[in-house]
Subunit: 233 residues, 2 copies
DNA sequence: GTCTATATAATGATAGAC
DNA sequence: GTCTATCATTATATAGAC
């Protein structure tokens, strides 16, 4: 079987770190977790007071621990996004797991909590944090694609770098837009979000990835000809 | 030639209303246009004061005309999004124009100003305004697809409704994510945004729409089998 | 470490003169 | 219609007691 959504799988793998730090329940960590939940629910405009209330501490204590709201935000970003490097790498070397990408990726997402919702908030907001996350994902995806092309499961592209950027933008963009169209009841419930998303999009996305949309190559021919012409000029 | 990005073309067509209301330059309209520019540049968190400064009026006058910041926002939304119904319909009836979709859509986008940036802000924010816009686009896309399938330029789908939703989410999602990865110098310059986006994504997107990604149908077979099985249960 | 109380700044919105 | 001046609210962040 092929690799339906390589970049999505990688994005998700980055979120699978279900850090078993239940001992990490210092007040500081509690505040951070509460902040993630509140940011997912209400967006990054949420107030320090709302975070404090959710963590059952005083607003002053939040600032005491993180210096400022920006400091709190930075720590949340780091906790959610600054992971997965090794994960993505090991995935690349493990063709067996790439094989059943759909089921595996979805299954491993079964309980990552609010991380997915946080990621989509970051992507919607844009900015440097989102950009660096996507850039890393593009690099990983390009390497994944080369492996898959060599293995014969994925077609070669006329521009592998451009395809990697496109696949990342498309994968996470489709997810983000689907969530706008179908807002989850509980945005912090990653498992429910993934299940609903798969239910809506797995068939059309796989169909598109298998056959494309067009019946002929006229559009592609035109685009490639146009590009060749302007490159000559 | 085919119809590379039907939903994108329709989304764009909605923005092509270059309202020749140059006589519409009442202070009220000036404030509204300034608000659109500021919202595109700084997001919807931008202050009434910033809008007033850009429009060269007092903050009080902004409230005087629109009642509240929410009122101003609503008027901006209406001005940008509450159009295009007829446009999209006429497009459906005009197969000649659907034919050269790529060039036509991009060319007609040559100068729609800050509208595109405003649309991406609305989509990133989510909420009811974005949802109703996307819903309308999905309905239009499904009708477009049926026409194109009947004409033989687009492959039929096992689930036309799901495909329409997927194409809309994918088209606008890809655009949004590409803009996160490559922030435009001037987010209010729609022409430059479209040109840069096409330069980066037209080749890989058309390639994907023509051939898909996979070399075989194993993934699709698995997904369809799984769906059939769970429908039986 | 944690709280209460408060300083400071910014924002949306109002009032009234012109 | 437009402005200036101001109010009321809300936010982040600080200070100091416990």
């Amino acid at each position: 079987m092929g690799v339906p959504f390589p970049s999505v799988e990688q994005a998700f793998s980055i979120l699978i770190m279900r850090s078993a730090d239940d001992a990490d329940l210092t007040a500081r960590a509690r505040i951070r977790d509460a902040a993630i939940t509140v940011f997912v629910r209400d967006g990054f405009g949420a107030t320090v007071r709302a975070v404090a209330a959710t963590a059952d501490v005083s607003p002053g204590l939040v600032i005491h621990h993180f210096g400022s709201k920006a400091g709190l935000r930075a720590e949340c970003d780091a906790h959610v996004l600054a992971h997965g490097r090794e994960r993505a790498d090991s995935l690349l070397g493990d063709r067996a797991r790439m094989g059943d990408a759909i089921g595996a990726a979805l299954a491993r997402l079964a309980d990552e909590g609010p991380m997915l919702g946080y990621l989509t908030r970051v992507l919607a907001e844009g900015g440097e944090v989102a950009r660096s996350f996507l850039d890393r994902l593009v690099a990983d995806t390009e390497r994944s694609m080369r492996v898959a092309v060599a293995a014969g499961t994925v077609r070669p592209s006329v521009d592998e770098a451009a395809r990697a950027r496109h696949i990342v933008a498309m994968s996470l963009g489709t997810l983000s837009m689907d969530l706008v169209m179908n807002p989850p009841d509980d945005p912090t419930d990653g498992a429910a979000i993934v299940a609903a998303y798969a239910d809506r999009m797995l068939v059309p996305a796989t169909e598109y990835a298998t056959h494309g949309l067009f019946t002929d190559t006229a559009a592609l021919d035109a685009v490639l000809t146009a590009r060749a012409t302007e490159e000559q000029a």
